[in-house]
Symmetry: C2
Subunit: 313 residues, 2 copies
């Protein structure tokens, strides 16, 4: 990417978006626009377009204004825990915003590159003989509406790409975390409770099922991969993004607890359980490491940053 | 199926629904309910529930009334030609009605069997080495929003089935036709124009691209397959439904023209072309023929019935 290329980041004020902005500014990119639904704080040198991406006309106007060469589509309703309760609005919003972006791209910037951020959730229940690692050809067995909505976005993007010769690269990130991630996700939720115990505001930490094996990557490594995929991703291809290493949720919690200043007791909360959980989710990351990406942050550093951030709240 | 089993057919007043009703009544089934959006003509002995399936509460009430043992989910927005223009409403309606059915099934009749009617459109652009026939493992490469909306329905159904142990069988019918099919589809549209030429109301027949190879089955054979799948389909499995024989659209048109009482000239209409069309779509039907199904109607009989029906309009 040229440093003055026009880069549009949808959902740019979210968790990953904020880290992507920090990284791109540090790399010297000068022509960055983000979309946001309301006026929030944004680093100097970044333009903000206030709009709801489910509004196709507003999205098109945004494309006409910033004429993106590269689009990072991070915007998405992204709740997993209770996605059955919110299934209809999640399906509607996630497909609607995807269609707005694709229609705007087709009409205004048909030569731009779209990096569509999907999710490893699309693999769902991998069969036991595949449990060691999911490559991009692993059959798709999503188990909740969130995963289906991400698959729907992928298929819409590829249908537009095939029919209108658009340049679309898809990435399926596995679990990632870091400071500023909301407490709808497990590690920030644990960290928030640990800090509450440290402050004497809470007696113990509520946990759900901790046996699941997950592949965690620091968000600071995730955003580096997005730049690499803009530059070197092959059009029409799908890339897994993960460390290729599995850790149980218990191990991740233990990493957090090692960095706590007090002893924390655990209590099980059945309300945190899901109708069905995925036992193992580990990336086969051969395709993206072949492009030169590798994770560089140690997870003990990552959880330290998450705890420090929660202590400042 | 027991003859007094409660059978619910969503979209039961549509083209396939009407043939399914005829067939089930002929077989002696006595406990049939259909959903319809407005009050239309229905054969004696069939109950009608007037509702919009995107209304989850109304759908649940319908399930509470008829307590279905078997659900044939035929309801769907099913336009292909211009599905890019109607993408947003198509995606929203098709996922919303699917969620209503799944939620009602989970809440009211968790032991019922759902036969989810998908479409061979989900295969999309099969690569050339696979062009001869698509089996159920062929990679999914949908090229338009209609196909994506059918895939979304499949994935929602399987996500609910996995998470809540629901009994779902999925069928992917290839092209099918017969009397009462709307002129949004090619063969009835051709037949309608041929009849207009026969009546001296039109000079020629407008056609789009006729090189595509399609796998056509008589709707009367399709509905027999649905009964077989209710009885013998394996829960969680997907079944192709087609003849395994390919015909070019030109051949299908010629079959119609052979049965016309006058000579019909053709004119090409570029408006009938799509951004991208699928060159070949032929079913590998090994899985469903293994259950005892085989097509029995000759297509020259089928097109004769289509023409006769148009002549009565």
């Amino acid at each position: 990417m040229q440093k003055d290329a026009s880069i549009l980041i949808t959902g740019g004020s979210g968790f990953v978006g904020s880290h992507m902005l920090e990284y791109l500014l540090l790399q010297g990119y000068t022509n960055i626009t983000i979309t946001d639904r309301s006026n929030g704080e944004v680093p100097a040198g970044v333009r903000v377009e206030i709009l709801d991406l489910t509004d196709a006309a507003a999205t098109r106007t945004c494309f006409e204004t910033c004429k993106p060469d590269y689009i990072l589509n991070l915007a998405s309703v992204a709740t997993v825990g209770n996605s059955f309760q919110k299934a209809e609005s999640m399906m509607t919003i996630n497909s609607s915003l995807m269609l707005s972006v694709l229609e705007a791209m087709r009409a205004v910037t048909p030569n731009a590159r779209l990096l569509q951020v999907s999710s490893a959730a699309v693999y769902g229940l991998v069969s036991s003989d595949r449990a060691a690692a999911q490559n991009e050809e692993t059959p798709l067995k999503p188990i909740n509406p969130y995963a289906v909505s991400k698959l729907t976005q992928e298929f819409l993007a590829s249908a537009y790409a095939r029919s209108y010769s658009l340049d679309v690269v898809t990435v399926r990130p596995f679990n990632h975390t870091g400071e500023r991630q909301t407490t709808a996700f497990a590690l920030p939720a644990f960290a928030q409770q640990i800090v509450a115990v440290e402050r004497g505001e809470k007696e113990s930490l509520s946990v759900g099922n901790l046996t699941g094996i997950r592949d965690f990557t620091d968000v600071k490594d995730i955003v580096v991969a997005y730049e690499i995929l803009f530059d070197k991703g092959v059009s029409g291809e799908v890339y897994n993004l993960g460390s290729a290493e599995g850790h149980s949720m218990q191990e991740m919690l233990d990493l957090l607890l090692e960095n706590s200043s007090v002893e924390v007791h655990l209590t099980e909360d059945p309300k945190l359980a899901r109708p069905l959980d995925i036992p193992v989710s580990i990336a086969d990351n051969g395709k993206i490491t072949a492009l030169g990406w590798a994770p560089t942050h140690d997870l003990s550093e990552t959880v330290q940053r998450i705890l420090d951030w929660q202590r400042k709240q």
